[in-house]
Amino acid sequence: MRLYVDSAKCSGCRACLVACSLNLFNESNPKKAALNLIGHFPAPGVYEMKVCTQCGNCAAVCPTECIKLNERGAYYVDFAECTLCEACVAECPEDVMYVRVELADAAWKCDLCGDCVQVCGTGALWIAD
């Protein structure tokens, strides 16, 4: 299972980002979310949304092996073991592996909680195999 996105349906509202931060960190903060929204305005006037495909490249390069599989079969960061080395960030093909030391003491990524899908009003996000 993984998260999918159809960027053409995305309206750029960022509800998913708030829901993501709330589930991942128990905090309200769209800057601490694991989806990557890029607006292309005023032209050509489209949103581009990148999501984690659970490819596992991040886990493969993690020197402390702190990126692990959870019960949903998704890779997540064990915050306590992360050393902020950023090796995972460079490996992520979708730019959704985050290290922002001013915001959090560990790297973070999508753990497939599904809350983003719950709040997406345009059907741009879904979970499937």
Binding site: S28, P30, F41, E102, D115
Partner: protein
């Protein structure tokens, strides 16, 4: 403080002084946020009789406890100032993503004071606060300025900017944000231009504290699910506000040729589905919106992009100008946005000029050679540009707003200047819709629709009926609907999807830790409504009943065509509406809140 950024940012542009102070908890308790904060600071801090374009006037930007939160449509902030258009209370609601950045930068309210000696812009990057030179932006369109500032500071920053209309002090200049969202009405962009503040650039990366994160998550998701699963969600989202265009045309509410009628013979060419098919390229949501009304469009003919047009602009720059061409309306919309003009006031004012021209009250000498007939697309574009730059006789005339322009021209043209209190009426023709007419007459900023909207109620009760139930309905809406502007969340989820408003109660409690029912919130709304009324009383000697009268067009001149042909509201009924309204509000015959009413609401405003 749970649910709040926690601070007020005070920017003194005269002295280049930026200071922060905590948001007082009792202010949050009594006024909650948004529009509530706005009127509180306006009454307390802007001295009585201040010149709207003087250094004493302030521009107050406030988010609310649901702004930026997991609240369906928490993208709203309020811009309050003393209006250079009306000399009264101005409060414009802006969607988009600006308010969320405020909250996450730890700021509930930005108070802009004084006047900068040179053009500047305000940079807020969490705790980093700076006024920076804006000479390279001055003169640029609002959209170009936004592009330049995004390129300079980064995609994560949100930008609110004025265009040439604000720089040139057109009294209905708007603030533009996110390539197509505006704080549109009442001249908030004018005040910003007068302060020589070209733009605000903001990013916030802090977390907003909440009282109960788990309850917040649950209540937030419940609200989203209710919106997404609501019947009509998909259709509403497909068309946005343009869903009503065809219906307004059918029932005679679509302003046509300066509100001389309510149905337009070329209406079919500007309906929502035509727009969706011809020009829309994506839905564009404000922060956190599950049913985005924003439609982003591309015009092949003009080679341009614009957010919209939404219903108001279609009404005022389409049918009201006799233009039945959705692509032309979109281009007029883009011009108004980029030049920084409120498309409602601009469209309304140009329509008045077109009527003057067709009646011979304005000649080609007055229009700088423009053939300003209804339906002349190129003339409409030219007029918009002239207004923003105050160019030529026409630009200078129309850049005053419709009320002052009609006073200058005379010849009876004030009879068809469609405004209340000097604010141009938005896009509902009210020849035969007495509740809606009363809504415009008594709206606290002038002839604007967003406080209360009641045309369906008119249809339900009987359009021409003048009964206490209609008045009660308007008062209830005026107390209730603006509370969304206080909370910082959009009203359209409730308005258009018909979701249960009680879904907001547990959400607000989880966020702020304070339990408030809608009854509690409406009481705050009632108090704010009376405070804004007292602001008008305080600022305008002689303020009273006559200020609440609508344009004579709605009681003297029945439309000749369309669904409301031959229909009109009697002048006696207009007065009767006011009698009932004042009585139910607890105001005197002149429309002034009585001492007993003020005492009951715990309001003390020094008016003399």
């Amino acid at each position: 403080m749970n649910g709040y950024g926690g601070s007020i940012l005070r920017v003194n542009l005269t002295d280049n002084k930026l200071t922060k102070e905590p948001t007082p908890p009792e202010l949050a308790r009594d006024f909650i946020g948004g529009r509530g904060f706005g009127i509180y600071h306006l009454l307390r801090e802007v001295p009585r009789g201040a010149d709207p374009l003087g250094p004493e006037n302030k521009l107050i930007i406030s988010s609310g406890p649901l702004s930026g939160m997991l609240s369906a449509g928490g993208g709203k902030c309020d811009w309050t100032t003393k209006s250079p258009l009306t000399n009264g209370y101005a409060s414009a609601s802006m969607g988009g993503h600006f308010t969320a950045e405020m909250k996450y930068a730890g700021i509930d309210t930005i108070i802009l004071e004084g006047i900068s000696p040179t053009p500047v812009y305000l940079l807020i990057d969490d705790n980093k606060l700076q006024l920076l030179d804006a000479s390279f932006l001055w003169g640029k369109g609002a959209i170009d300025a936004e592009v330049a500032l995004k390129n300079k500071h980064g995609e994560e920053f949100q930008i609110a900017a004025i265009g040439p209309g604000g720089e040139n002090l057109v009294p209905y200049a708007c603030v533009n944000h996110d390539f197509g969202r505006q704080a549109g009405r009442g001249g908030v962009g004018t005040v910003m231009g007068q302060k020589k503040l070209k733009a605000i650039v903001i990013r916030g990366t802090k977390s907003v504290p909440v009282a109960d994160a788990q309850a917040y998550r649950k209540a937030g998701i419940d609200l989203y699910r209710a919106c997404i699963e609501a019947e009509g969600h998909d259709e509403w989202t497909r068309y946005g506000t343009t869903i009503v265009t065809s219906w307004c045309d059918e029932v005679g509410a679509l302003p046509t040729r300066n509100f001389s009628a309510g149905s337009f013979e070329d209406g079919k060419n500007i309906y929502g589905p035509v727009m969706r098919k011809e020009i829309v390229i994506t839905d564009k949501g404000c922060f956190g919106c599950p049913c985005p009304c924003g439609k982003y469009s591309r015009s092949r003919r003009y080679g341009t992009y614009v957010e919209g047009p939404e219903y108001e602009t279609i009404g005022l720059m389409g049918s009201n100008l006799g233009i039945g061409d959705i692509e032309a309306v979109a281009e007029a919309n883009r011009l108004a946005d980029d030049l920084g003009l409120d498309s409602i006031s601009a469209g309304n004012t140009i329509a008045w000029a077109m009527e003057c021209y067709e009646k011979g009250m304005l000649t080609q000498e007055d229009t700088d050679g423009l053939d300003l007939r209804f339906g002349n697309i190129e003339a409409a574009f030219a007029a918009i540009k002239k207004i923003a730059y105050r160019e030529g006789k026409l630009g200078q005339l129309l850049a005053q707003g419709v009320k002052r322009a009609a006073e200058q021209i005379g010849k009876g043209s004030d009879k068809f200047a469609i405004h209340v209190k000097g604010m141009e009426q938005s896009a509902y023709a009210t020849h035969n819709a007495t509740a809606m007419l009363l809504a415009y007459m008594t709206c606290d900023v002038g002839a604007h629709h967003n406080r209360s909207w009641a045309i369906t109620y008119d249809l339900q009760v009987g359009r021409d009926k003048v009964v206490p139930e209609k008045v009660a309905r308007i008062i209830w809406l005026q107390n209730f609907r603006p509370m969304f502007d206080v909370l910082g969340s959009c009203r359209l989820q409730w308005v258009e999807l018909g979701i249960d408003r009680d879904l907001y109660v547990p959400l607000l409690e989880a966020v702020t830790g304070i339990h408030r029912t809608w009854e509690d919130l409406e009481a705050v709304g009632d108090r704010i409504w009376n405070l804004t009324r007292m602001y008008w009383v305080r600022e305008n000697p002689g303020f009273g009943r006559s200020w609440d009268l609508p344009s004579p067009r709605f009681y003297e001149e029945a439309p000749k065509t369309g669904a409301t042909a031959g229909q009109i509201t009697n002048y006696e009924d207009v007065q009767c509406l006011l009698d009932m309204y004042y009585e139910q509000r607890g105001w005197d015959d002149n429309g002034i809140p009585t001492p007993q009413t003020l005492q009951k609401l715990n309001i003390a405003v020094q008016t003399h």
